[in-house]
């Protein structure tokens, strides 16, 4: 890039990469600002079914910003609905995630005319203790999807810059690593200190998907446990689809406005979905379902090793296409499992009043 300083890192690794011209992988800051200005900012009831919400906002070619972190408060119910609805040519943006992008990737492997991923801007894609994520290993290793690598802070703060309405943000990481070469950030000389500082472009998803602890019907949302990057993603996105464990009265929101982490103007739809992050965890409600995640992961791993899609197709037919909505899915998971997961959360304290 022109007028760019660098930390001169090209001799450290054996990396080979193609220089790419900078482009936004979703809405530009100006486009996103304009869209936000033109939205209705009324306090209006935004509750609707997930089918309606997804039908209204999800289309081919969008940048989809995925909330949660690894297995925590991951918006699985929304992902299931997106797979039923279909969405091709997606750009995915997230910091670290497990089952959400894996579910989309599995859907792509089964039927790329229904769901397909074009590229991913991310920090990490895996299952931590449970193992590597087989679908990303398959897709990225074979060059089927394009990757753009940042750190967890990098992706989080790119959403934060977008949520602040600024086009980029300076950070003190990425520089001197190969991420400086391959991602869309840029090293400059700080105009004040005269020293090198790395800049990251804001990330505005077309649609952000988040699952929250509680929200009112207007979309004012509380999050207990780690926020992950959900407030920033919701505020960065052109449209935000929100599921929440519990819709609470606006009176409660107004009693403790400090507890609102996502404000209503940035939220487009609200759907109460209990266990909406299952098999992920939701602090104060349920722990993650390690057995289910292991089961899905091992089906994906079998595909990666053998190329046989039968078990994968069976999983999607049973748990996604065989369900009208998340209640149907939870019925297949079963009361005993859900009760156990609730017990394992241990009643972490949350405020719903």
């Amino acid at each position: 890039m022109i007028n760019t300083v660098s930390s001169n890192i090209k001799n450290i690794s054996t990396l080979e990469y193609k220089e790419k011209k900078f482009e936004y992988w979703g809405p530009t800051p100006d486009e996103s600002r304009k869209l936000m200005v033109n939205k209705s900012h009324a306090l209006k009831d935004k509750r609707m079914s997930l089918k309606e919400a997804v039908g209204k906002h999800i289309r081919d070619g969008i940048n989809l910003g995925i909330g949660g972190f690894v297995n925590t408060r991951v918006p699985v119910a929304i992902i299931h609905e997106i797979i039923r609805h279909g969405a091709r040519d997606l750009t995915l943006s997230f910091q670290s995630n497990s089952i959400c992008p894996e579910l989309l990737a599995g859907a792509m492997i089964l039927d790329p005319d229904r769901v397909s991923i074009k590229r991913v801007e991310l920090a990490w894609w895996g299952y931590e203790i449970i193992g590597i994520a087989p679908m990303v290993r398959y897709l990225a290793t074979n060059g089927i999807i394009e990757m753009d690598d940042y750190t967890n802070y990098g992706m989080s703060v790119r959403f934060k810059a977008a949520s602040m309405g600024i086009p980029f943000i300076p950070v003190r990481d990425h520089g001197g690593s190969d991420m400086e070469l391959v991602n869309r950030g840029k090293m400059i000389e700080c105009p004040f200190t005269g020293k090198n500082v790395y800049l990251l472009p804001a990330c505005h998803p077309d649609v952000g998907i988040v699952h929250t602890t509680a929200a009112d019907m207007y979309g004012n949302a509380r999050i207990f446990g780690a926020y992950c990057t959900c407030p920033e993603i919701a505020m960065a996105a052109n449209a935000t689809i929100m599921t929440t464990e519990k819709v609470i009265p606006t009176e409660s929101i107004r009693s403790y406005p400090n507890l609102t982490e996502i404000p209503f103007p940035v939220v487009d739809t609200v759907t109460e979905v209990q266990y909406g992050a299952h098999p992920g965890a939701s602090y104060g409600y349920y722990w993650f379902d390690m057995d289910h995640i292991k089961m899905f992961r091992s089906i994906c791993e079998d595909f990666r090793k053998t190329g046989n899609k039968d078990a994968l197709k069976k999983y999607y037919d049973e748990y996604i296409f065989g369900c009208e909505n998340h209640d149907d899915f939870l019925e297949k998971i079963g009361y005993k499992t859900l009760k156990k997961l609730k017990d394992m959360d241990g009643g972490q304290p949350i405020i719903l009043t």
Partner: protein
Amino acid sequence: MSEYTPFEMIAYTGSRVLEDERIVFVGTGLPIIAAMHAQLTHAPNLYMIYEAGSLAPILEMGMPLSVGDTRAARKACYLKGLCGAFELTQRGCADYAFIGGAQVDMYGNICSTIEGHNYDKPGIRFPGSGGAGAMAANCEKTIAIMALEKRRFVKKLDFVTSIGFGDGSPDYREKAGVLGSGPYRVITNQALFGFDEATKRMMLLEVKPGRTPAEIQELVDFELIIPPDVKEMAEPTDEDLRLLRDVIDAEGYFLKRVIKK
């Protein structure tokens, strides 16, 4: 002295290198176990940051299985999100980064992104940086856990994910715009490494009792600095093993893993 496993030795050594009254930014698995062990023994005022957003939790519900585990938020002093956790770090509140990776070089740079040379179509795609790249940049000191194998202690990385001392030049990190002082220790089950102040190169500090520095050099593809005063690694006592096995990782999620060849 009881028998101990390689994972137990790594966790115990990790605990030993953490000082009291410090803050450690932990990664999933052995770093969490090492920090919990340190808290229960010599460092009761050591606190953890978990990147999903919690500072100084009390882990009374058991060991978090991942850094995003909701249990890691239990009774924290401060609980925000990833931006909050990493901005504390960028500001200078995190003393240690505790990370892992697939490859490390003589200057403590670490790869966890790809194996192979071609970014767009690598031999193997790994999960990616996660928090590691940011931790290695901006925590004050970086501690890495690695398996001691020639294919991992390499002359040249496939991809630099987490910055160490770069090419070893004295101003590399400053030019890179990062803040922390960089690599501090590399922990394996057979040897503990540090870094030479002048050359920034990896230096052997301690070997497992019974091993020689020459044997350790055999397992490393680049030339180690081997000072004359290499010490023996301390071994976990029965009480350390009881804490690791019965108190910290009682379910054996990390310590009882089978090592895949």
